[in-house]
């Protein structure tokens, strides 16, 4: 079973990973976006880590709800409401339980990803974070490691795609050949889930 501590580790691992990879995310975003993805997420997840330390919610749902709210209020770019909605809806789906099973997390994360699709209007293949998240949720039944691999493969598979959502879509065919920054950061989020599970 996964308790609030597990979810705090997940968020802390994401913050650390985003911090490490911020330059790479911003470099990817400078190719097809407005070169702020790394710094925006760095600011957002730093705020998440600080808020979790200060308030320490005692349920998995509470941890994710607080994290989502922080992202919406601190990021300042489209990734704020998108990741904020992902975490908040996932948290809401987990309810007030003190512990949740991996299957419950998989189902809740599916609800969260669905909410992101509704908010942003993106479908698989549009070269967005959805391209990493949908395969990750599908693979989560086979464990966190499988979800991590699926998310990373999904992010890499955005390279040949033409962007159909967000600022990158204005580039048309020139968006082809670049890995999507949002799919890349989504893969970091799922990799952090695997890190939290292995306690590293």
């Amino acid at each position: 079973m996964l308790d609030a501590d597990f979810f705090r580790r997940w968020m802390a691992a994401t913050a650390a990973s985003v911090d490490r990879e911020a330059e790479r995310l911003t470099a990817l975003d400078s190719a097809i976006g407005d070169a702020d993805h790394g710094s925006n997420l760095q600011r957002g997840f730093a705020a998440v880590a600080a808020a979790l330390e200060k308030e320490s919610p005692d349920t998995p749902g509470g941890v994710l709800a607080l994290a989502g709210r922080q992202l919406i209020s601190t990021v300042g770019g489209a990734s704020g409401p998108l990741y904020g909605t992902l975490l908040r809806r996932t948290g809401k789906a987990l309810g007030d339980a003190a512990e949740v099973s991996e299957a419950q997390l998989a189902e809740a994360l599916g609800t969260g990803v669905e909410a992101v699709r509704t908010l942003g209007g993106a479908s698989p293949g549009d070269k967005t974070m959805i391209d990493a998240l949908v395969p990750a949720v599908e693979a989560l039944g086979e464990g966190f490691g499988a979800a991590r691999s699926a998310a990373e493969a999904g992010a890499e598979a955005t390279v040949p795609l033409q962007a159909r959502k967000g600022r990158a879509s204005y580039l048309g065919e020139r968006s082809i050949g670049h890995q999507d920054p949002g799919a890349t950061s989504s893969a970091l989020l799922i990799a952090a889930l695997d890190e939290a599970a292995s306690g590293s």
Partner: protein, 137 residues
């Protein structure tokens, strides 16, 4: 319409503080005598950069809420998504706050003019959305 008609509030959300404030000024100027319409700009980030601030949006919506609803117009990208996420949250924006699907400048003018005339939120929204149909060529 009674003299004490409560007016629909208008919030203008742009990635740029200058754009949001200038469009607010333009809409009020073109509406003529629309000084009574509660219009608030929520542009850029709190630090003054380009982007979207949920705090500025929430504060702007609260400041123009007169109980008749609040129409929010946005430019693009994170401005749209942030307002939608705040609306989904439930308690971040005043009751009767609505994201209006409209062109930013023309929609703002239409919204301020109709609000000044004492129209309700549905009418303000329809007028702003109708601005999409004003072809220029």
């Amino acid at each position: 319409m009674s003299d004490d008609k409560r007016l629909v509030g208008i919030v203008l959300v742009s990635h740029s503080a200058q754009v949001a404030e200038s469009v607010a000024e333009l809409a009020k100027g073109l509406a003529g005598g629309a000084d009574t319409v509660p219009v608030a700009a929520a542009g850029g980030t709190e630090g003054g950069g380009l982007g979207t601030s949920s705090e500025l949006i929430s504060a702007a919506a609260a400041s123009v809420d007169r109980g008749a609803g609040v129409a929010v117009l946005t430019d693009l990208g994170s401005a749209v998504l942030t307002v939608k996420a705040l609306l989904a949250e439930g308690d971040e924006l005043p009751d009767g706050t609505r994201l209006v699907d409209a062109p930013f400048v023309e929609g703002a003018v239409a919204a301020v003019v109709t609000s000044a005339a004492g129209a309700d939120l549905d009418t303000v929204e329809a007028a702003a959305a109708d601005a999409y149909s004003y072809r220029k060529v």
